[in-house]
């Protein structure tokens, strides 16, 4: 099983202050460590970003991967349309996609959802978050404490402009009284997509053992049941599940 962890922070070079201290190798470095810790020897992990050839999202790279983990924040607009096309095509052909935190506004996620993916937002000193499990039968909830208690953090609230998820796994509450569908599973084509909202880069949420478990579970779940080739020669129609 091979996993690509992608982030738009130039492997940490674009981070400042506490974020830089928390993620010395970039957020993708931090998340890659989580995937290795949680899935162990069964998985190989590489990191990728805008600074790589083809923005780290070539047909070759995606074809070899089982799951792509996406974290983006400041540079959504720099992701090229051909790269988004490739990600969409591979996901519909069975590449798993785990979207973290502000990746809700990333081009690949918005493309696959078909909606704005807008949400309510607030960053201030005092918001704590509780993550409640709604669906205990879902593999991403396996072994997860009820609730996950997160310290000071950014607030993401409803309305969250996504299609109704195929599985609503987590719902969060914030000190300010907001609620948020913080863990959502989607099926699209032959691909599985999981959105998990936790992950602000200036707070140490990715050091929380329960958050690490959720990310590991999500990567494991997102591996396709039915993966098929998605490399497409120029000018040919994309090979999607429906086209058999």
């Amino acid at each position: 099983m091979h996993v690509i962890v992608w982030s738009d922070d130039a492997r940490g070079a674009a981070l400042e202050g506490p974020a830089a201290a928390l993620h010395p190798d970039g957020v993708n470095g931090t998340v890659a460590d989580i995937v290795r810790e949680q899935l162990g020897a069964a998985v190989t992990v590489t990191t990728a970003g805008l600074e790589d050839p083809d923005q780290g999202l070539s047909d070759d790279a995606l074809e070899m991967a089982d799951v792509l983990v996406w974290w983006g924040h400041e540079a959504h607009d720099q992701v090229s349309e051909p790269a988004v096309d490739r990600v969409q095509r591979h996901v519909l052909a069975g590449l798993g996609l785990v979207v973290l935190h502000s990746g809700h506004h990333s081009k690949p996620f918005r493309r696959l959802m078909g909606t704005t993916c807008d949400l309510s937002w607030r960053e201030r000193g005092g918001d704590e978050e509780l993550v409640w499990t709604i669906d205990p039968t879902h593999p991403v909830a396996a072994g997860v404490e009820q609730p996950i208690v997160l310290g000071r953090h950014e607030m993401y609230g409803e309305p969250f402009d996504i299609p109704a998820p195929d599985a609503l796994v987590f719902v969060s509450a914030f000190t300010g009284g907001e609620v948020f569908r913080s863990g959502c599973g989607f099926q699209r084509g032959a691909g599985r997509i999981f959105y998990f909202s936790v992950g602000h880069e200036t707070h140490p949420v990715y050091q929380h053992p329960q958050v690490r478990r959720v990310i590991g579970n999500a990567v494991g779940w997102a591996k396709a049941v039915d993966r098929r080739p998605a490399r497409t020669p120029a000018g040919e129609a994309p090979a999607a599940w429906g086209a058999r």
Copy 2:
């Protein structure tokens, strides 16, 4: 359009203290007034309860109704199995069912859900509730403010042991940090079911204009698209949609 509003408080005789003062004609009287106010001349409303013949749930009564509104709290166990059978049969044949507050533990709702319908619960001095709209396309959310702000009230929290609803319309947050799927639509057979958790009898939540609007919307939505006869002679199999 005809609506039956049922409650298990003997038209107020079983209420005490602030609940008795808030509901002089019983909770079904209070809710019947809401339905009349919200749906106007288009609807006729009767109240019913355990103290009526056949517990107010005869085949004759149910056959004439478009929607049954259910509020129950202290006397779930007194509802007879034949009455539950009749409610289930009529709902599957197209009788709308709106279940309020502690009706989550009523026999008809549990029968139709197939699960325990257990939830977390706490009553104390200080819990306020915010009701957030999750699905703005749903008729029960029409014209409803975002969020509904409720004062001191009882807390109902996840985990809520229901099947994943066919429409998740509202999610609530409580001062204590809990979340709850407070407005859920279900389709069962030819019938529509809406559960709305707001309604503790000792607080004046049913005087809140937004809560009144939700209840009116829910009753309007629950009216069947395809109602069919459900009266069943003794010994014959129930006539459900699937049996055509």
Copy 3:
């Protein structure tokens, strides 16, 4: 209530043979007549197409409409990206969208679904179709016979690469043994979308009373519960439900 019926056949000028005979004013003319017949005086209807200014899909036109009905077949590629942007933005803000037949491959539908919307396909002499109602509680199924029996027609079969619909209303069987999710409801943002696969232009399926009823029901259902302005000045972000 105002409805725009859009098709890509130049109001019939692009049709040939039996299709031209069946649709002397274009397929949008045929469907506009159905909408008028089914919804009566409550509705005004206009037709639109590629040949109109802004391809008939200006912000002004869309802002005035409650529902857009889309039929397209041969000219999907000619729909401009800005027109698709506008349709997506207005649907997410509450414009209803009814997509007919080969509109499954139209740019607006694919944009809103996020998938390829590919399906299996065959046209030959002998395929008949039976349309079965799966969800009798859905307004689009109101008063519809079980099953709808269609004569010789084009085959659309699974796999159909769409997200799992929020409501699966109809499933069809074909003489060749195929099945197809032929009537699907979706919520996206504040908008409602209904896909109905019946409608091959060379067979008289739109003269079938039951098909006419389904189209009328779909248009009535797609009218928004919560419509909001979606006209966007250049350079500003789209106003979607999530952005409140």
Copy 4:
């Protein structure tokens, strides 16, 4: 992993003619062999039926099991209410349940669905069935051919009076033109339920390699993510997921 395969044919003693020849040890014997073949050394399998103490459904037996497979046809009424109570309680606490063929009308399935589970039915000489995969991301569809081609067999058709499944995996077509949601996944409490309609005892459908694969996949999928004790002393409330 431990699996109980239950059937109501007295380990074959209640079968006649071709059914007796096809299932010398009862249908539960045939299905137990399939489970062993498909899941191999990872699983232990026992058979159970009405003729066993506690109808083979004691708290002790269910507590030790991960998945219960249910096949029933002629003796649904003989299953005792306490046995149904126990199955429901254990499923809500995480026991997987795979329901085959005419088990759609079994008491445990109807109890857990809350609906009649009625369907259309016909047995005659010539109906063939094609089973089409609708959701290729679901584990029960892993490695399954598209479509599964079944020879002469009984017809089960829509309308099928079940709640909308949480996952619609297979839809079948029959020679007579009917369609049927033949493979459906449900979550209830902490339990997973899969209904698969194939399995008429007088035809050799359980010898079909693809059908065997589906049954193996379903049993593997139904194993709980979060299993908890469900043994209940007399007089105490059932311990369900929601009651934590």
